[in-house]
């Protein structure tokens, strides 16, 4: 009998491997070269952040005026010990960039987690309880969206005081409306579907409907938005750092490093060039991955 069952099993299994939705998305993503390159870059970045103490050739905070503004190793006057050169007070730029990846990834993750959590909750409440609550929440979201995000972030940082934590809160607040709107729209379209009605008839409570029944089916746009959200968070936090309102020196946050580097613009190009390049590459990678995920998760949008 067990023999028969086994054969039956193999017969069913062999014709075609079952293509689960998750696998389908992965296959589509895998065929997208840009997204795969981005994914590899992001993995490298994560490794860089985790193993920063092992990878960094020097202490990121160690100052040494004697070697200040040493050019990169390949340039004239360079020193092979300082691959990307040193900054105005003799700190190794490569080491600072490596440690900086910790900040950028942390900023991206925390900001997205904060705005995603608050945004999804607001969107769920809005979508489930139409009427006054919905109007109130959505009006508030409209107000936030009507203000340029960097301007709003600056106002919030001025209110809370300059610093990395407050900058992250500020950037998170400006991003909430995107998640709230996406969730609300997805909830509203899901609510009319049969499976939700069935679940309701079966006696599921509002909370269960929200989090167990509806939310898992609204995830696709949220995943895409979160990935793109990481890039805008990194960018905005770096901009605040650049304006002196984000992470404070001597933190090796890339935007803050750039603010510090401005005074050397006519004497040491490398101090200015590399931190910005790091920001660009990181932001670009998350945008590429976000675009790829969107194409994979929503083939209708693929162009």
């Amino acid at each position: 009998m067990s023999e028969a069952a086994k054969t039956a099993g193999t017969i069913v299994a062999t014709p075609a491997p079952v293509l689960t939705p998750r696998r389908e998305v992965w296959l589509s993503l895998k065929s997208n070269r840009g997204a795969m390159a981005a994914l590899i870059l992001i993995l490298l970045l994560i490794l860089c952040a985790i193993f920063a103490p092992l990878l960094a050739p020097h202490d990121y905070a160690a100052q040494n005026v004697d070697i200040a503004l040493t050019p990169p190793a390949w340039a004239e006057g360079g020193n092979s010990s300082f691959l990307l050169g040193t900054d105005g007070i003799g700190r190794d730029i490569l080491s600072r960039l490596i440690y900086g990846s910790q900040f950028s990834l942390m900023i991206g993750l925390i900001v997205v987690t904060l705005s995603l959590t608050v945004g999804v909750l607001l969107g769920l409440v809005s979508g489930f309880h139409r009427g006054t609550v919905d109007t109130l929440i959505m009006r508030l979201m409209d107000i936030i969206l009507a203000l340029p995000s960097l301007l709003l972030a600056i106002v919030i940082v001025v209110l809370l005081g300059a610093g990395l934590a407050n900058a992250m809160i500020a950037v998170a607040i400006t991003n909430i409306p995107h998640y709230a709107r996406l969730t609300r729209a997805a909830v509203m379209s899901e609510l009319t579907k049969d499976y939700v009605v069935a679940s309701k008839v079966a006696g599921a409570g509002t909370l269960r409907l929200m989090f167990k029944t509806v939310l898992p089916n609204c995830l696709a746009p949220l995943i895409v938005q979160s990935t793109l959200g990481i890039s805008s968070a990194v960018l905005d936090a770096a901009a605040l750092g650049f304006l002196g309102l984000g992470a404070q020196p001597p933190t090796p946050e890339w935007g803050t490093m750039l603010a510090d580097a401005r005074q050397y613009i006519d004497s040491a190009w490398w101090v200015v060039t590399f931190p910005g390049l790091a920001i660009l590459v990181t932001v670009l990678a998350f945008n590429l991955l976000g675009d790829g995920l969107r194409d994979a998760l929503d083939p209708k949008l693929k162009r």
Binding site: A146, P148, L151, A238, G276, L288
Partner: protein, 336 residues
Amino acid sequence: MIRFVIQRVLLIIPTFLGAALLTFVLIHAIPGDPVQMLLGEKVIDPVRHQELLAQIGLDKPLPIQFVDYVWNVLQGDFGKSIQSKESVLSDFFQLFPATLELAFCAMVFAVVIGIPAGVLAAERRGSVYDHTLMGAALTGYSMPIFWWGLLLILFFSLYLGWTPVSGRIDLDYYFEDGTNFMLYDSLVSGQEGAFASAVSHLILPTIVLGTIPLAVIARMTRSAMLEVLGEDYVRTARAKGLSGFRVVGIHALRNALIPVVTVIGLQVGTLMAGAILTENIFSWPGVGSWLVNSIYQRDYPSVQGGVLLIAGFVILVNLSVDLIYGLLNPRIRGRR
């Protein structure tokens, strides 16, 4: 249509009040004594302190203060700057032309390059052009513009020496009673080389501020064009034997432009945020660098007024875009 206009106009009221509330909270949540802030280092006795507090209306309950504040703002009273001792409104409008000029040039730059790039990418979909252009667009979209500005200064101003590093015009030129729109002022002044100087100062800031809108417009144009190029009427136009240029440039583009125009309008907010960074890099004397400077100097009335004025400007532009869109596309009018 009239109902649509009234509805949209009414909808900006809560948005404006929200922005006002935000700036109101801002000024009240900042630690420190407002009277002391106005007086600087001087010491005063408590009675006089109370009098002064009453004089600027800060002894009333907060909701009343908010109503007063909104009332004043509606009458154009945005308070006095601590630094310049001038009214915030006049400070703002002194500098706003500089920002407007820069933003306008950046937008023209973005549109003039972005739309053809998007059209080309859509028409040659999947080709090397498409991939290169869209790769460039994504890079532009991901650009930290404050770094981009520094990089351009590094190369074009410092290395090649082609463009000036900062400011709006060489110090040799001065215009009495100017409009503060430098291109216009320098042109009508008739002073030799003035216009060229103004233009050379504008080039790099324009590129920096226009980069992100350019990328957004190019991407939007491409996807709108792809949608339109698949339509029946485009096939009909091709079947009639019209030249590729006529079909793409006239029949298809005209319809693809509707969403693009909306996106252009929505970029005004991005431009204002970008102006804060761009002006900071190029020491461009506009409202962006003024705002950042006011923050550094703890000139809170200026910060408060400036933020509200910029927000008001963006809200008004968005409203106009909304109305124009309703005018162009009757379907949108019926929707809420």
